[in-house]
């Protein structure tokens, strides 16, 4: 369970969030939508400590992240952030696979170096994951030898290998060619069906509608509307939501 309360985030003098609240239940699938620059990525990044925030609190499975107003976080803060990261997996728009490692190497890296799992069982688990995403033939390929869609699937497997309780996806299909979007979304769908707590920032409205339990609409650093997908997509209350949907569905 994740609880965000009174979140304030500034970039220098520029205010992005001034008091954002959100609770996410275990097993819930939450989709973040909203115009470019509205704060979806930053919100996700605050949850796993890739961005520090200036006021408010974030609880992830009982671990508390505090606001940090210094240039260097203290030892306690770093410890808390690391503990959260061990419970939360993240998938990036740009995949960010490690180019000097094979697909298998990428997947076992976390379990072996961070969790200290012995290599043989990490490999067994990684091979099983590769099978699950239909890439068992690419075990020894380096990222540069994989298509974008394959890379993103490996990135998902890399995060899953850490056995996280929650997965964060930041526009996982935005840098893919259209024909590869489907294969990545189907892997995510598969996960969601298994009951993984999931937060996804995306511009894929049809997908959002299909998998979301709850849709959160961001605009200019504010949550302007939340609700089940049927409601948001067929009968949005906020004028700004309507404008956003009209524009994005037209494209």
């Amino acid at each position: 369970m994740i609880r965000i309360s009174g979140l304030h985030k500034y970039f220098g003098d520029q205010v992005l969030f001034s008091g954002v609240d959100l609770d996410i239940q275990k097993g819930e699938v939450v989709v973040l939508i909203g115009p470019s620059g509205s704060g979806k990525s930053t919100f996700l990044r605050c949850i796993n400590g890739l961005e520090y925030f200036q006021k408010g609190e974030i609880h992830v499975d009982g671990i508390e992240l505090h606001s940090i107003n210094r240039t260097r976080p203290g030892k306690k803060d770093l410890e808390a952030i690391r503990n959260v990261r061990l419970k939360v997996g993240m998938v990036f728009q740009q995949f960010n696979l490690f180019p000097h490692m094979t697909a298998l190497g990428n997947i076992i890296e976390g379990p072996v170096t961070v969790l200290g799992i012995d290599k043989a069982s990490a490999v067994d688990n990684a091979v099983a994951l590769l099978k699950r995403i239909n890439l068992e033939g690419k075990v020894d390929c380096r990222p540069e030898e994989l298509s974008g869609g394959e890379q993103q699937r490996v990135a998902i497997a890399r995060a899953l290998a850490m056995k996280p309780g929650t997965m964060l996806f930041d526009e996982p299909t935005s840098s893919l060619d259209p024909e590869m979007v489907g294969e990545v979304l189907s892997v995510i769908k598969d996960l969601v069906n298994d009951g993984m707590t999931t937060i996804i920032a995306t511009h894929e409205m049809a997908f959002a509608r299909e998998v979301a339990h709850r849709v959160i609409v961001f605009d200019k650093g504010e949550i302007i509307e939340t609700g089940p997908p049927e409601e948001i997509f067929t009968n949005p209350k906020a004028e700004r939501t309507r404008t956003f949907l009209r524009r994005i569905l037209k494209d």
Binding site: G49, E109, M162
Partner: protein, 498 residues
Amino acid sequence: MKHTLRIFSLLLGLAIVLCWAIPRQPEEGGIAKIKERGFLLWGSDAEGGAPYVFPSPDDPSKLIGFEVDLAGAIARELGVKARQSQNAWDSLVPALQRGDFDFAMNGIEITPQRKQEILFSAPYYIYTEQLTVRKDEGVIQSIEDLKGKKVGTLSGAAAQDILEDIGGVDIKIYSGQVEPYEDLALGRLDAVLLDLPIAAYYAKPNPMLKYAGPPAGEGFYGIAIRKGDDELKRAVDEILLRLLKSGELKSIYQKWDLWNEKQEGLLLNLGGPAGGARLEESRNAPLHTFFPMLLKGAGITIFISTASMALAISLGLALTVLRLYGRPPLSSLATAYIELYRGTPLLIQLYILYYGLPNIGISLSPVVAAFLGLGMNYAAYEAEIYRAGIMSVPKGQTEAAFSLGMTQTVALRRVVLPQALRIATPGITNDFIALFKDSSLVSVIAMVELTKTYGILAASTLRFFELGLIVALLYLAMSYPLSVFARRLEDRLKGVKG
């Protein structure tokens, strides 16, 4: 790769042909030209050149010394002014042959072997070799006691021959006159054998040193004149004789405390002495006889470069990590180190390490000083190469590592550095090759590596050309495999297969 090699050999061959094909310029010497020019240009080395030629302590822009006085007197007799041309002592003869100046006068001993290359004036000074030891020395009384001892002398000096003739002496060759006495005082040498004028100026006033035994050997300094310039030789001889008879020469030597009864012999010795047959041999020796010495020098070059590079690579990494990730005092210290070492000449760093540290009680052996000097200097450059490599790893890589729960240190070790090193590899190997060549600088701190070996051999045989080519080839033979290896490594890091 084969291609490069072929082009290389072609260029080298071309260079050799050109060198032989271009005729030596028949320098139109002569008095007329000097008079027309209005000054006499004479070559010498003012670096550590007291009491011959050296910058005046009162006004360093002015040169003084007994040879400065003598050159002035000769020029005056010719009706012109004298002007000095600064040259490394080792290269005075080749520079003279090239026509860089009218004559060279700088304690150049008259030897039959040099006489094959150049003309000598009548002797203008009779030198002897003076043995110097530390004040507390009890064993070494004379040259006979030098077996098995560490004895310093100058490269190409007649003293070197005397020492070699004794046999079993551990001879240390220096290129400056200050350093051997410095090392003697510090206990790095047991004795120094050098021309009396040098000893008179550098050793006699030093309270830690004393003369041992009477002066040994005897030889003549002559003014070196280009072959074919007989007119100038005749004029100089005449002038010297005049200065000798008028007593002006004597008063110059008295002024510099160099006069002794021996100099009376100058009148009898206008023809120059015999001797130096051994050098004659080396002059005509087949090239392969030099190989053992050259290979030994090359071995030392390889050893010192490899060891220093290992230091540079590891120390550089530590510096970069401190600079980028260290807490404030450490990170600025690392930055300061890098700026300091990159912003000052390596030569000065070596001098400070070897000759400066003893002033505060730390005395390093030449090998250690060379290793530290080169390694610490190059560490600063490696640090900057790593930093550029680290900066060019995309931020997303660190974020992905963090999101897997890696700490800063683990992310650096597992994700950032492997990629940064791959980017840095070409720069690092380039630097290794550069260090290879820079290693010749350590000859200033009494390390006889390849370049120094060349300098010594060439100075004593005057075979600058052949030996130079061989040495250049030796350097190439060492650095070329290195660049081939570097390219292989780069390809492998890139993951290129096959």
